[in-house]
Symmetry: C2
Subunit: 492 residues, 2 copies
């Protein structure tokens, strides 16, 4: 950020105070300098502007400024005005602040919640690691930034902006909804009307909204084990009951869903984290069971767009004739994750409820972001970007499989039409937490398996190796390091 002209509004006068106005102003400036809120070289407001703002005589300001020049806080540059002096670097640091009153006991007030304590530890500087086999981030080189920028500029044109600058309360951008309905959902075999679609701040937000509505009064949700750790966190926060259902080579076995469950969560096209696909017969069985037992099915259709060996199977939602399926889609993996845009497709009564809750929680995803996405889709950029990602991921998948083979590591189960990760076993006797910890200083990031399991130690034997964020040419060396580390740990 460029050094700026300091606006007059930075300063306040308290007329009720016993201190003279000039003293107050001087003290404020001094304090601001000590606290680094005013930086050397920044330009102070003109004495006229500051006097006007504070409602004091101009002489008050000029005298304060003069004092501060004499004490080296400011420097005067003739007609250019007053600047924060470069000499302030030499000044003593903050004087001891006034002793506080007894502090409000936030620890006691928040006791029993402690969401912050439960959070997973994610390295935010992952981009500085040379071998980041992390899921859910994207390789900048695959994103058509120029196209996104062009669409953003269009969406901020006067015609569109007039519609988007306003608080839309709980509405959605009709152009984006229209595109999703006419062009995206049919690719999954889904037909939907506008009242069956709700935009969200990404799949995470969709999942939160759905669970907040359906759970929280002692209901039980069944989900795949291993499964999506983010859902574990949401359910713990809502104090909902969770039944983990161990999967087999075809994903979730419907017959293993116990009685009394009111919601089933599944990612049938591409199971998280194992990438397995649920066959058609199972999908029909699950839907039949939902109709018979009256439970809701949440379908997380993440990653369907980056399948790269032929057309994917239709979504579960496409086969849903009773309205029991709530479908979650997202643009995070196909556009960029920081975008935070996704959607729910469900029965209109549920969508109305979710819309009202979303409105209460955050009103709506920013309108200009929605419109930018609508342009990105309708101008064909989305499809071109998907194609580019698919090709890059297909190459990286090949390279990864070859490297795992070459270095003698588990290659995972075959199949999986795409996606961006492998679900792998560590060598017998090793612990994936230990492996991940040992790899980190070597510049390699992997995802250990425990968080994907609701309970027990089963996850110690697994890890996820994603290739969405690592260039093809780095993969072999990263995997070589994994193999070496495994051998070292096995020898201990």
């Amino acid at each position: 950020m460029a050094a700026m002209q300091i606006p007059p509004e930075t300063f306040l006068i308290d007329r009720k105070s016993v201190l003279p106005l000039q003293v107050q102003l001087r003290r404020q400036i001094v304090l601001a300098v000590h606290e680094r809120r005013l930086q050397p070289g920044e330009r102070m407001p003109s004495s006229r502007a500051l006097a006007t703002h504070l409602g004091v005589g101009r002489i008050t300001v000029t005298q304060a400024y003069g004092d501060l020049v004499a004490t080296d806080y400011l420097s005067a540059r003739g007609r250019s005005g007053y600047f924060v002096s470069d000499r302030v670097e030499d000044l003593a640091d903050d004087p001891a602040p006034a002793p506080p009153l007894a502090r409000f006991d936030w620890a006691a007030r928040l006791d029993g919640r402690n969401l912050a304590a439960r959070r997973k530890d994610r390295p935010t500087d992952w981009r500085s690691y040379p071998f980041p086999f992390l899921y859910g981030q994207t390789d900048d080189r695959l994103i058509d930034l120029a196209a996104w920028r062009e669409c953003a500029v269009r969406a901020l044109g006067r015609r569109d902006f007039g519609a988007l600058s306003h608080d839309q309360y709980d509405g959605d951008d009709p152009e984006l909804v229209d595109f999703i309905i006419r062009h995206l959902l049919p690719r999954r075999g889904i037909k939907a009307r506008p009242e069956e679609v709700l935009l969200t701040m990404g799949a995470q937000n969709a999942l939160w909204l759905i669970c907040a509505i359906l759970l929280g009064r002692g209901e039980t949700l069944a989900m795949e084990e291993p499964g999506y750790p983010g859902l574990h966190e949401i359910l713990a926060t809502l104090r909902a009951n969770l039944v983990p259902v161990p999967i087999d080579q075809d994903g979730l076995p419907p017959e293993a869903v116990p009685e009394g469950v009111s919601v089933v969560f599944t990612s049938p096209s591409h199971q998280c984290p194992t990438n397995r696909t649920m066959p058609r017969a199972r999908r029909e069985a699950l839907l039949g069971m939902a109709a018979a037992r009256g439970f809701v099915v949440i379908e997380d259709d993440y990653e369907f767009e980056i399948s790269f060996s032929g057309a994917t199977s239709p979504a579960l939602k496409a086969m849903d004739r009773s309205g029991a399926v709530i479908y979650i889609g997202s643009f995070s993996k196909s556009v960029f994750p920081g975008l935070r845009l996704g959607y729910i497709v469900a029965d209109p009564a549920f969508v109305a409820e979710a819309r009202a809750l979303r409105g209460m929680m955050l009103r709506h995803p920013p309108g200009h972001v929605q419109r930018t996405m609508a342009y990105f889709l309708s101008l064909g950029h989305y499809d071109r970007q998907l194609k580019r990602m698919r090709e890059a991921y297909a190459e990286r998948r090949q390279v990864t499989a070859a490297a795992l083979d070459r270095h003698g590591l588990d290659k995972g189960t075959p199949g999986g039409r795409g996606g961006s990760s492998f679900w792998l076993r560590v060598p017998t006797g090793l612990d994936s937490d230990v492996l991940a910890r040992t790899l980190k200083p070597q510049g390699v990031l992997i995802e250990p398996g425990r968080p994907f399991f609701r309970g027990g130690e089963a996850g110690a034997a697994f890890y996820r190796l994603a290739y969405s964020s690592i260039a093809a040419q780095e993969i072999d060396e990263g995997i070589a390091r994994i193999a070496r580390t495994c051998r070292t740990l096995a020898a201990d």
Copy 2:
């Protein structure tokens, strides 16, 4: 949106189906045309591209296309390819869809929630009304759209985008946080460190997060009466107890806060909806009471930036030495409401908890929107826009006051250093709901008073008249219509 080239991914083949591939493809195209998902003039995928995508022979596609030309669904234009025919307008509408299975009973499943039923009725087409005296929207003419666009383009430059395209989990843009701390908060007398600041999707999102953390286990919140209706809704959803505290000419009287309250919500600089300012002595008393009784104070500092008669009084948070105050700020009124960006300033333990909950609900406000805001601030556009808004609102306030006087309507209590609305009494004997309803067909929108009151009929005597969305030259006629309607209703 321009008519587009239809991508091959729009179509699916189900290899398990008993229907021949060509028949499936023809049926899909026919269905898509009937359902208006394919529009006249749109261009079909080339037979080669579609065949490749579906994994079928090219002849299958060409034959299907040929059949559809013969039946007028498609037209062939030689080398240009195949297009959806203009003749489809004549085709019969959707055939009756397959009868559904028994529908999932969503009404029963959602019974007891019914957020959707509780929602206030807001006209989303308010912009088409000539006299919209509505609060919270903005006049497009006051927004420097070109400047915002320029900042958005910068934020989408490669340097910034590399940082912003990624999922930031629950982090915030450090540049925006830095600007808020160094330049915005000091204008309210607030000193804060980065760990005391959390960005949100606007003030609504901030309020939701705070209430979700502090309430919901039977606690009680006290708030001003009349007060902000959005908070009534949030508390009802969280099933928290609400104690309304009637205000006087100086806002919330601290001595009227009953025992046993664990949170007090107040907008002391500019009370919603009466615009009254809480004097310094009361602020000190409230903070003293908070320290003595151990309750949290939520300060909603909305609209401080559009005060236009001199410097505003410091925020309550500026006087908070125990950390009991949670401060809410927002860019909605000063930038544009559809932006959805705001912030919380509070004790680090509370901020950490709120950050974790925000992360679980929606991860983070979109990174590129945060960075655009950082540029908008640091390049001085924000301050220029504020100045423009203040001048426009000051003029409109004068015009409104004069018109109310001229037409013999209540002018509200004097004072109120700014803001964008009047809180007014209807003539004796009238009901503001009836007044609002009667004004609507005349093109005038006002906000009746009942929603601002937690209980009883006190609100029937009041209405809010905002001038943020109506041009100065329209105000007099709008108020003339209000006056005429009042006379008509009084005569009934």
